[in-house]
């Protein structure tokens, strides 16, 4: 009956989502979530290397105390572009839009996301935002930092605020649509039997992320609009000359932009939960706590934003409340770290590349998170605000956390995405490069910041004693760059020369491994019915032992 009614794809086993059409149109007008994920992967990689280029410019400038590589104004534009591209065009979309897009329907046994065309629209919005920011960069750039603080952004600078703001606005709507799509899909499209407490933790993490995208992004969107109308029409919402308050801009901006760091880290935490359990061959310790801690981070994340404004002139009482609440974010984050390490206990651990990244994540995220608690402490924050201590802290979370998680996840699911295995030796080498390079780059910055080196300065010639640590940091960044270029090369190489992957090369649990690699266009030939708990590695091991015994 079914095959008679749909003659369009009879040979489902032969064609997969990659071979289902080769024309450019079949990619650019696709509504297949897996193809859109690949489109995202390509465009986001592009912006990652663009943002990385600016990072290298910054590090090269800081190699010497004097501002000799570029003019200080150019330096301002370089770190603004680095921040804007990395935040809006890399960190926020990187995991949800690529791995999330690819895996959410697969992991819940659905044929596609709930709104495939909106999904495609969100990619086009991302590209439009990317074109805007690139155009802005090529025609003069912005010098406010990625935070657009008023009144500098509204009344003083003559750089291209409105175009950069529009780019962030458009990219914001791209992420709103992704979040909306995920929430509806996770609520409405789960396979029969896949109850909430059987969902993979990656799904929980993306669900929590989507909540923040929906609730937070519109606030920063209107804030950007208000900055734009202040520049264009002189509506002085944040104008101190009219009795407006520039700090209100910071309130509204951070109401989104602080939860936005959880948009970045939560999906990576979801990946780590998957990796740890898969490579320990053991059900994750305290499933419910890990799942709910994602939602807790999302909710508590909305209560802490003003810790970015402790020295900006907010009320001391409010600062105490925000400091207190900030410590609470540490609780669900620590729950995750403790549960991951407890999962390792008495597991059969294998040290494949994804697991190396997972170990890196746990260590680096813990450092990043703990230094975040230092910064939440009012007294210490006054001392280190706007120093390299803050820079090192958030790079430990963003790069050591988000990027490590993303790379781990990309290696883990690469066989599913491409149908090929990557070269394990090279991958381990690059994981080592990333870990060593990262720490060499950013650990000296903790010390620099604690000694008082301020961020966002091209010139530190009045404190030449900082040069040694800066040279170390720059050296580390080149090691890190090699660590990032290597995967790019061997992933592309593996597309052609990598050994073919079977459906489940890691013998992992999860619905995504029960369909072919790469999956067919509609994911599953038959909608799966789930009768087992998440991460049932005990049962899988038992089954394998029986098969061995019988064989």
């Amino acid at each position: 009956m079914a095959s008679a009614a749909i003659p369009a794809h009879p040979a489902t086993e032969r064609t997969n989502y990659l071979t289902n059409g080769f024309s450019v149109k079949s990619w650019l007008l696709t509504t297949d979530h897996k193809r859109i994920a690949v489109l995202y992967l390509i465009s986001i990689t592009l912006f990652f290397f663009l943002g990385g280029f600016f990072a290298m410019l910054i590090r090269l400038e800081l190699l010497t105390p004097a501002s000799d590589l570029m003019h200080t104004d150019t330096y301002n534009k370089a770190f603004t572009m680095h921040g804007m591209i990395m935040v809006f065009f890399f960190l926020i979309p990187v995991v949800p839009a690529t791995l999330g897009n690819f895996l959410v329907p697969l992991m819940i046994g659905a044929k596609d996301l709930a709104f495939p065309r909106i999904n495609l629209l969100s990619w086009y919005l991302y590209v439009l935002g990317g074109i805007l920011i690139t155009h802005c960069m090529l025609t003069g750039g912005v010098d406010t930092g990625w935070t657009f603080y008023t009144p500098f952004s509204t009344a003083f600078t003559n750089t291209k605020i409105i175009e950069a703001g529009l780019a962030a606005f458009v990219a914001g709507f791209s992420s709103i649509f992704t979040g909306l799509n995920f929430i509806v899909t996770i609520h409405r499209m789960r396979a029969p039997g896949l109850t909430w407490n059987r969902l993979p933790l990656f799904i929980w993490a993306n669900y929590a992320t989507s909540l923040i995208m929906i609730l937070g992004t519109p606030v920063v969107a209107i804030t950007i609009v208000l900055v734009a109308v202040e520049r264009l029409f002189h509506l002085g919402i944040f104008d101190p000359r009219l009795g407006g308050d520039p700090l209100l801009f910071q309130h509204l901006f951070w109401f989104y932009s602080h939860p936005a760091v959880y948009i970045m880290i939560l999906p990576s935490m979801g990946i780590i939960s998957e990796l740890i359990t898969a490579f320990s061959r053991k059900r994750v310790f305290g499933y419910n706590f890990v799942a709910l801690s994602s939602v807790a981070i999302a909710v508590i994340g909305f209560l802490v934003w003003a810790h970015h404004m402790f020295v900006a002139g907010i009320s001391l009482y409010a600062a105490m409340v925000f400091s207190f609440l900030t410590f609470f974010v540490g609780v669900p984050s620590a729950i995750k770290v403790f549960n991951w390490t407890a999962t390792l206990y008495r597991g059969s651990i294998s040290y494949a590349t994804p697991m190396l990244y997972a170990f890196g994540f746990i260590g680096l995220f813990t450092i990043g998170g703990l230094t975040g608690l230092f910064l939440a402490t009012l007294g210490i924050d006054v001392h280190v605000t706007d120093t390299y201590f803050v820079v090192a802290h958030f790079h430990y979370v963003m790069v050591g956390g988000v990027l490590m998680g993303f790379l781990g996840g990309l290696h883990f699911w690469w066989p599913k995405i491409s149908g090929r295995l990557y070269p394990e030796g090279w991958a381990k080498l690059s994981a080592l490069f990333v870990f060593v390079g990262f720490n060499l780059t950013f650990f000296p910055q903790f010390i620099l910041g604690y000694l008082g080196m301020p961020r966002r300065y091209a010139d530190y010639s009045h404190m030449p004693e900082f040069q040694v640590l800066n040279v170390l940091s720059t050296a580390g960044s080149s090691v890190l760059a090699v660590g990032y270029l290597l995967p790019m090369i061997y992933f592309v190489w593996s597309l052609r020369y990598g050994p073919l992957a079977d459906a489940n090369p890691w013998a992992a649990a999860g619905l995504e491994w029960k369909t072919a690699s790469p999956p067919p266009t509609f994911n599953f030939d038959e909608t799966p019915v789930v009768t087992w708990e998440a991460y049932n590695y005990d049962e899988i091991e038992l089954k394998e032992q029986k098969e061995v015994a019988v064989g």
Partner: protein, 235 residues
């Protein structure tokens, strides 16, 4: 499983609007509804940023806000509120007509909604024009000589702070008007499609979702009216 798949294919044959990746019509309908409501939440937060600014500045500069508010026309504001409420009624009647499969009624209610929406925008234009004449538009030519009439006492206000009130007035009503314009375009398009018979009692999700959007824009105005027009009006 094979059974449900077969029924899904059968319903697909019945309803060309059912997309392949949904199991059945109910799932598709619920997904569309949930998606629309989540979008409405983003709209609430979008306007929420401006409501936050309003709250902060009203508390800080109450006299200027009251004086500015007293310069707005209650008559036009109340009339526009009524227009929007009636348009919400026509929207809900349009959804009702779609449920019953009454094509002509549906088109009439959709067109009525557009007409009411345009009426609202017309009145808004009249109000904006008056602001230009009275130099109440923020910018270089802004002037504010009026004082806050508090129970017959005339309290002078800082014109700069009044400019802040009008900045918010234009930002909030302007963003609302932009949503009205989008809504009018949306309903005009729906009216054309409804005339061509695109919607049946089995499939009218676009009418329902556009209706939800329209109601939300109405609700925002329900709050904007007292917050902007009715500050300290008693004597």
């Amino acid at each position: 499983m094979a059974d449900s798949h077969a029924t899904a294919v059968e319903t697909a044959a019945h309803n060309p609007a059912l997309l392949h990746h949904f199991a059945d019509e109910q799932q598709q309908k619920d997904a569309a509804s949930l998606g629309m409501w989540l979008f409405l939440v983003t709209e609430i937060m979008f306007f929420g940023g401006m409501f936050c600014a309003y709250l902060v500045y009203r508390v800080a500069h109450f006299n200027a806000f009251a004086a500015g508010s007293q310069q707005l026309s209650i008559g036009l504001g109340a009339f526009n509120t009524a227009v929007l409420l009636v348009s919400s009624l026509t929207v809900v009647l349009a959804v009702n007509a779609a449920q019953r499969g009454k094509r002509k009624q549906l088109v009439v209610y959709l067109v009525l909604t557009v007409v009411l929406g345009l009426t609202f925008l017309g009145v808004k234009a009249v109000e904006y024009a008056e602001k230009f004449e009275k130099h109440h538009v923020p910018g270089a030519s802004f002037a504010f000589t009026e004082s806050f009439d508090d129970n017959g006492k005339h309290i002078p206000v800082n014109p700069k702070e009044a400019e802040l009130f009008f900045s918010l007035y234009f930002a909030m009503t302007g963003m609302h008007a932009l949503h009205m314009i989008i809504g009018c375009g949306l309903f005009a398009g729906l009216a054309v499609l409804a005339w061509k018979g695109h919607y049946t009692p089995g499939y009218y999700t676009p009418i329902e979702n556009a209706g939800l959007y329209w109601h939300l824009v109405d609700i925002i105005w329900i709050y904007l009216f007292p917050l902007l027009y009715l500050i300290s009006r008693h004597s």
